[in-house]
Symmetry: C2
Subunit: 347 residues, 2 copies
């Protein structure tokens, strides 16, 4: 059996903020059968995770990308890989059965033909909605969990600032911090998001950074006693302002630098004199380095979800043709919580 | 008995690179006797440590200074405190005897009247020249030792870059790294210093940063396999270039930011995308936080000095009236090794 498979490509490398004209929706004819004994797996994608870091893979050249093997540059006009949940259609080796629900590195497409050697994991007895595996119980959640607990080594009562706190990772980092017993303030880019942070997530306070003319003063207002931990998702001016307001022995976990992803001119120039005198620790990290605590993370987070203490915010769009706009929206602050595109029904 | 005591003051706060006109040599009449039973100690200064960080205490206002109690701003027209070695002239409490050799926070002066409650330690059975207690076996050495071993957690064979490697801390950090079994390259500001680094200290390589038009390319040339550890004494452009050349999981120990002490415009804007993707750890520190390892540091370093493996570089000037020029010279790169002003003979 053959299907017409629709998938998304970039036309060329992208060096600026992404826009619709950078992407193409292509169609290919795909056979849904595989050679028996082969390593091929065909997956019908159900949910695709939409993540800002992919923009860095779309650039033509970057020393960052070259440094690490798992941020392989995306090739124009070829299928874009990304984390997704799908259902097995056919599997050459017999390792997976038809209709097995799997999570792995698939493509921005309706169907993905992948090699079994790729990272594919069967989702057995998953008690939560499948989308959770892409967000709160996936790498997004692990980023928040590892960044906050492993890098920041928080103490109860410490003052925590989270930027992009309504974003996929930020909203979880902020909640972990609050549940742990910290004083937590988040920043976001709209009044609606600020309300979500205060009313739904129960942060101690939140502010709209777009309404602040001086971020340094703003943070001083929200943290009169200074910041102990800064969970950084944005970089740029906000990082500078946070460093100015950090307490001695403060920790900055650099999870993302979204303000710099699409505009290299917006680099942060933190006051290094503060870094020395206040003995600050600024540390970048990737969730992939913390697979050793994945089981702990899932166990702890599942408990918090079951008890209703942790709120999972998701932002769903539908259909392969909406993948580009969903991705573009990340850089315009369109989403609240984890951005996911749904491609087909679970059943 | 009374003496005429000469001491150095700043005329006003200093916001730029220091120059002679910022300083005054003052004279006061000082009684060399103390009230019996009082907390007063009079010390005749022998050697004074000249350190770049003092410029930050001379500024009128700085959030950095306010953040920490041991970087108390220096008041214009009053005696400037600094670490020194001296000989006790008189002690009210009897805790110290006349002619005891002591190290402590004294003043940029011939004589210092201090309170016993200040940090004064008697130098008993000190087997090395007294100047060593201000440099290689004092806070200077501890900065190099703690910064390299405690913050950078080196592994043998790792690639280490030290900036201002002919400076007081840099020349020790570079030697610790070399003796530990790392590949070490240092930067300095003259051909003469580069020769010292290569020929006297035995670094694997060294370069004159003033002869490089592109620091990023220069570091790429000296570290074709990347930098694992950067011991940063300068900040600014060099920090940016180092971050670009760091390997994954690289560590940056920020010991000093001399390029930014006198010119706030020269701030480093490191590529935070590199910080995230390469999981870099950038950490500021002060030697004072590592008093818990002071004994280990002294023991280990004394062994290295006795065996001749560690070379102690000192740069001496003479007389209280030469303190300002010695201090100013730090910012012009005049010194090789630890800058000390000798005020009187040991005997």
């Amino acid at each position: 059996m053959e299907v017409s498979n629709r998938f998304i490509v970039i036309k060329d490398h992208i060096e600026e903020a992404p826009k619709e004209s950078h992407f193409n929706l292509k169609t290919e004819s795909l056979s849904l059968s595989v050679v028996s004994g082969s390593d091929d797996v065909i997956v019908r994608n159900l949910y695709i995770s939409i993540d800002p870091y992919q923009i860095n893979r779309m650039k033509s050249n970057s020393s960052s990308q070259k440094a690490i093997n798992f941020a392989v540059p995306i090739t124009p006009n070829q299928a874009i890989d990304g984390v997704a949940v799908g259902k097995v259609v056919a599997c050459g080796s017999g390792k997976f059965e038809k209709d097995d629900v799997v999570v792995g590195l698939f493509t921005w497409a309706e169907y993905s033909l992948v090699k079994e050697a790729s990272i594919i994991n069967k989702l057995d007895n998953f008690e939560f909605p499948l989308t959770y595996r892409l967000g709160v119980l996936g790498f997004t959640g692990l980023s928040a969990y590892a960044g906050f607990f492993e890098l920041c080594k928080p103490k109860k009562g410490e003052k925590v600032f989270v930027s992009a706190a309504s974003g996929s990772v930020g909203c979880l980092a902020a909640q972990y911090a609050k549940l742990f017993g910290c004083y937590v303030v988040g920043s976001a880019g709209s009044q609606k998001k600020v309300e979500v942070l205060k009313d739904k997530l129960g942060l101690d306070d939140a502010f709209n950074y777009k309404e602040e003319t001086d971020l340094k003063s703003a943070l001083k207002r929200y943290f009169p006693e200074g910041i102990d931990i800064y969970f950084d998702n944005v970089g740029g001016d906000m990082l500078e302002a946070a460093v100015d307001n950090m307490n001695s022995f403060g920790r900055v976990a650099v999870c993302g630098v979204i303000s710099e992803y699409t505009d290299a001119g917006k680099r942060a120039a933190p006051d290094m004199l503060n870094v020395v005198y206040k003995r600050l620790n600024i540390r970048g990290f990737l969730a992939a380095d913390f697979l050793n605590i994945f089981a702990d993370f899932v166990s702890h987070t599942s408990d918090l979800l079951r008890s209703g203490k942790l709120l999972n915010l998701e932002d769903l769009s539908y259909g392969v043709d909406n993948i580009p706009s969903s991705f573009i929206g990340l850089f315009n602050g369109d989403n609240i919580g984890k951005k996911i595109v749904k491609l087909a029904e679970d059943e």
